[in-house]
């Protein structure tokens, strides 16, 4: 880890001033569970680290009649334990429980989970975001068992690993972002994540100096669930996760959202598959058909064809879980 300046401002104004005034690269520090590892691995080398820990307005969960507003610095444990979140958004609670580590959930924050770096082992071993060696993709030639089965035509073959993101997209959440100019802007959850086509491009739509401040989720009652498949039963990354949400209109499904995680460089929205369920009752056959349709366009690499099967099953099981 390189030497760096450290600041722990008490207001967003100060924080953003610190982020834009540095002469070298900067990093926002939330719980640090990803950032510190990335710094130790030498894949992120900030000259200045700005902690958001002391900024009160970024913490906590506000519930109103039409929305739930979650501060980016809310920890994953706090989110999972909140009674309204548990009642309205079981898909988020399952995703957090799935991390399988109380320590990470206690330290890790909502903002950090959404902005974390990919775990691709070529990236983490110093071969860059795209895992290149002498101009060739190590991911393609090497061990890609945990890599993308969707959205992998470009140089990015890694997967987005946020377990919260698919659920938030399925729930039609909005990401509230504050710019260096103090202006707020709202980004639909699905638009927040970007697939870079060059190594220096960002993984999110955050501009320099921008901070994710809140997540706003409609408080409408939906049926929603997450199903994930991991190798281990305890602490482990999902191989695939599926989050689904729909409105139950007297036994038929409306506004169906199906979102896959850990399968593409961004959370992967499968609208076409979701449409097949519109107006239908969710039963075993319908759920299975939706799963099959969700993976119709998958393009597995040499070693990750099994993830197609997992994605198919995860969609089916998430739908059945949501239907209860």
């Amino acid at each position: 880890m390189n030497a760096f300046e450290y600041a722990q401002p008490a207001t967003l104004d100060e924080a953003q001033a610190l982020l834009t005034s540095a002469s070298g690269p900067v990093a926002v520090l939330a719980g640090g569970t990803d950032l510190l590892t990335a710094m130790k691995q030498g894949i992120v080398n900030p000259a200045r680290v700005v902690s958001l820990k002391s900024i009160e307005e970024l913490r906590g969960i506000e519930v109103s009649s039409d929305a739930v507003r979650i501060g980016a610095m809310t920890t994953l444990s706090e989110l999972a334990a909140h009674p309204d979140v548990a009642r309205l958004y079981p898909c988020l609670v399952t995703a957090i429980k799935g991390i399988g580590s109380p320590q990470i959930a206690n330290m890790g924050t909502v903002g950090g989970d959404l902005c974390q770096h990919p775990r691709c082992w070529y990236y983490r071993n110093g071969f860059g975001l795209f895992g290149m060696n002498n101009g060739a993709s190590l991911v393609l030639e090497g061990d890609n068992r945990y890599h993308a089965i969707f959205g992998n035509d470009g140089p990015a073959k890694f997967v987005n690993v946020s377990s919260l993101a698919p659920g938030l997209i399925a729930l039609d959440a909005t990401f509230n972002v504050r710019g260096a100019d103090k202006q707020m802007r709202d980004i639909p959850a699905a638009d927040f994540f970007k697939t870079p086509s060059a190594p220096e491009e960002s993984l999110t739509s955050l501009a320099a100096g921008e901070v994710l401040t809140h997540i706003t989720i409609p408080a409408a009652q939906t049926r929603n669930a997450t199903y994930e498949v991991r190798e281990r039963h305890g602490l482990d990354w999902p191989l695939v996760t599926a989050s689904v949400a729909y409105t139950d209109a007297g036994g038929s499904a409306q506004n169906v959202r199906v979102v896959l995680g850990h399968v593409a460089p961004t959370p992967w929205v499968v609208d076409a598959a979701a449409k097949t369920l519109e107006g239908k009752a969710i039963d075993e056959a319908a759920a299975a058909a939706c799963g099959t349709s969700a993976v119709a366009d998958a393009k597995p690499l040499s070693m990750n064809g099994y993830k197609v099967q997992l994605a198919k099953v995860a969609v089916k099981r998430a739908l059945l879980a949501a239907a209860g």
Binding site: G42, R119, W121, L138, G142, W237, L310
Partner: protein, 712 residues
């Protein structure tokens, strides 16, 4: 006169009871100091730069920029220009600095130029592998072929186990301090008494001036016998700089360079009669333990007396860190290949697996033991109620199955010496240059002394872990308990007999009529004549008595023995839509002769089962085929089982007549041999297809289901 034999069952107060380990409290409160925890005044930190390529030539190494960094004490090339790098993780240079952080950062300033070559990484495909050595045992090829062709039931299958590492919780390494013309070393080692010998060159002094102290260590599993290159580097820097030096490997380097269990693959043909009597075994096996290849598999495992056997072995060279003995070297792989093939044969014959193994036990060396153990294991797991033919036919994606495996091990005691001292105040101590890997050796040594002297365990001071103490062997191959308990019993007996000489006149009998029992010295057969222990010891006057004991390499003491059998059964659920395996119950039945401490013995088996679930389901060293880098040299993707993964574990130790009188036998290796095979067999029984290679991860399980036409 105390006899140098184990007491009979009615005379055992401690031996064979469930006794908590002596160092439990210091370990669980963090007061136990491991090599990692040693801190010396003015200590500096050494770090190693390792090659990031599986195969390369070193063109140049330039440490000059690193030595300019503030806080860096020195930097040294550890390879010469032109030297060959043979695996990623090979040490290229070393560096020492005043803090760990500086050392870590400064490594980046050492400039190494490599000429990168293409590494040989394949060990899976035999036809494309680089074969190093071949060994064929084909007594009678024609008969083998004929028997196979004519067999009523036959199978041909592929089986294998991926290479794994030792992944010790405590990395390899040591602290070294040069002072007063002597070297003081605090290593993490399985080999306290011999550790110094490997450092004499680096220290520039005879081993007799090198003091080794390892009180606690966080796992070795066969990877910590030597002082290793890093031990030598640490020692050399300590000598050269005059400062205490700590050098512990970092996790990534540990996983690449400090131990590997060879991969193993085999193509097997086997035949049997319709009713399940094995008639022929024919296998081609290969595997790789890195640069040095690997030794041949011992297949068919334990069923060595099958009438017609052909065994072809190939050792494959790969550019990976070299193998080290991994708990029961060769056995888990041989066991997996054999038990999986035989279970496939049972399934092909339509014979229940338990019945099949029972029917062929006469091909093993210990049929009676296995028979009894199979019966007990079957009871514990509820075999009768749960067993079904291959392929669970209940509807739905969750399929349940049972698997069986059998194993063996030697476990005779190693060479060992002990001294036991009885003091005039009644206290007693034992000195022995052994080590406690976490297995309970310290406790076992204490129990043997206390039992021999008729004292409570807490009255015995146990001194281990230093090379000043009488030499004892390396802890490997399950040789420790037989070694240390034999030499310690011998020493305690000698000390006690010396005490008896002083006490006998006072009791008016000969020394040969005395025995020590429950805190007193008694005249055998005369309850009225006895003397409390403390009073007896006061007769020593000013001078303690010390007894010396030894366990020769191979001996006639009859205190230890060799040769055990064990049986394990697993009950698993396979989700055939996701390929995920869940352990429901896992049973181990094991003999190991006379058990000194039932609790630490059971713990040893529980630990082995957890380690076994790990390598059966999750563990695998994953290498990049292009660069030769280990991709999962961390504990995130190098996956070990956690408590949520292991299911309900049941351990049954075979004790009592038929077992106890055999003497003490080692237990470290045997219980870790069968888990891969038992779990693989249970998965096959559940989902109806054999998943050829462990670990049984979803990708492998789904591929096998797909190939078997069983993918939902």
């Amino acid at each position: 006169m105390a006899k140098n034999a184990w007491p009979s069952a009615d005379k055992r107060s401690l031996i064979g009871k469930r006794i908590s380990r002596l160092d439990g409290p210091v370990k669980s409160t963090g007061r136990a100091k491991y090599a990692y925890d040693i801190s010396r005044p003015g200590m500096i930190y050494a770090r190693l730069l390792w090659a990031p390529y599986g195969s390369a030539k070193v063109v140049s190494i330039d440490t000059s920029a690193a030595t300019q960094i503030k806080g860096v004490v020195g930097a040294w090339p550890e390879m010469k220009d032109g030297d060959e790098v043979r695996f990623a993780g090979q040490v290229v240079a070393s560096l020492a600095a005043t803090s760990e952080e500086i050392a870590h950062e400064a490594l980046k300033s050492i400039k190494v130029v490599y000429e990168v070559q293409t590494p040989q990484m394949n060990d899976v495909l035999l036809e494309k592998a680089e074969t190093k050595e071949q060994r064929d045992e084909i007594p009678d090829a024609a008969t083998v072929d004929k028997t196979f062709n004519e067999a009523e039931v036959k199978i041909e299958g592929h089986y294998g186990a991926a290479a794994i590492t030792h992944c010790c919780m405590e990395a390899h390494g040591q602290v070294a301090e040069y002072r007063d013309n002597a070297m003081y070393i605090w290593p993490s080692t399985q080999n306290v008494s011999a550790y110094a010998a490997g450092l004499a060159d680096a220290a520039g002094m005879p081993a007799s001036q090198i003091h080794v102290d390892c009180q606690y260590m966080g796992g070795g599993f066969g990877s910590k016998f030597d002082s290793d290159q890093w031990g030598a580097i640490c020692t050399r820097i300590a000598k050269e700089t005059g400062k205490p030096v700590k050098l512990m490997l970092e996790r990534d380097h540990e996983l690449m360079a400090a131990g590997a269990r060879p991969s193993a693959f085999a193509n097997v043909r086997a035949g049997a009669s319709k009713d399940g009597r094995i008639t022929v075994w024919d296998s081609t096996a290969w595997g790789s333990g890195g640069m040095g290849g690997s030794r041949a598999l011992g297949v068919p495992y334990i069923f060595g007396n099958i009438p017609n056997i052909r065994r072809v072995s190939r050792s494959v060279r790969t550019n990976r860190g070299s193998q080290r003995p991994w708990r029961a070297p060769g056995h888990p792989q041989s066991c997996l290949v054999t038990m999986a093939a035989l279970e496939d044969l049972a399934a092909a014959a339509g014979v229940d697996s338990l019945e099949f193994f029972l029917k062929n036990l006469d091909y093993t060396e210990r049929p009676d033991v296995y028979r009894e153990e199979l019966r007990i294991a079957a009871d514990l797991i509820g075999y009768k109620d749960k067993a079904h033919p291959r392929g669970d036919s209940t509807p739905g994606p969750l399929k349940r199955g049972l698997g069986i495996s059998l194993h063996t091990w030697g476990g005779a005691g190693h060479k060992s010496e002990s001294t036991v001292t009885i003091n005039p105040d009644g206290s007693a101590s034992v000195n022995i240059g052994t080590q406690d890997l976490g297995s309970g050796t310290r406790t076992v040594v204490g129990i043997v002394v206390a039992e021999t002297l008729g004292l409570p365990l807490e009255n015995v001071q146990v001194n281990i872990g230093r090379n000043e103490y009488p030499a004892s062997g390396a802890s490997g191959g399950s040789t420790t308990v037989g070694g240390v308990s034999t030499s310690t019993r011998d020493a305690a007996t000698a000390a006690l007999n010396a005490l008896f000489e002083k006490v006998a006149p006072a009791l008016g009998v000969g020394a040969d009529q005395l025995e020590a029992w429950q805190g007193s010295i008694h005249v055998v057969g005369d309850a009225s004549k006895s003397m409390p222990w403390v009073k007896a010891c006061s007769l020593l006057g000013q001078i303690p008595v010390t007894g010396k004991g030894s366990k020769p390499a191979s001996d006639g003491t009859q205190l230890d023995n060799s040769g055990v059998g064990g049986v394990q059964m697993a009950d698993v659920t396979v989700d055939i839509e996701t390929g995920r395996v869940t352990i429901n119950e896992f049973v181990a039945v094991q003999d190991c002769g006379l058990i000194v401490d039932l609790k630490t013995a059971e713990s040893q088996v529980y630990g082995a089962m957890i380690m076994g679930v790990t390598y059966a389901l999750y563990e695998e060293s994953i290498y990049d085929p292009v660069t030769g880098r280990m991709l999962n040299a961390d504990m995130e993707f190098y996956k070990l089982a956690g408590l949520a993964d292991v299911g309900t574990l049941k351990v049954h130790m075979m004790t009592g007549p038929g077992y106890d009188e055999r003497g003490v036998i080692g237990l470290g290796e045997p219980p870790v041999i069968s888990p891969g095979a038992a779990i693989s067999n249970a998965v096959a029984n559940a989902c109806g297809v054999r998943v050829p290679t462990i670990p049984l991860t979803p990708n492998r399980v789904l591929a096998a289901l797909e190939q078997g036409g069983k993918l939902a």
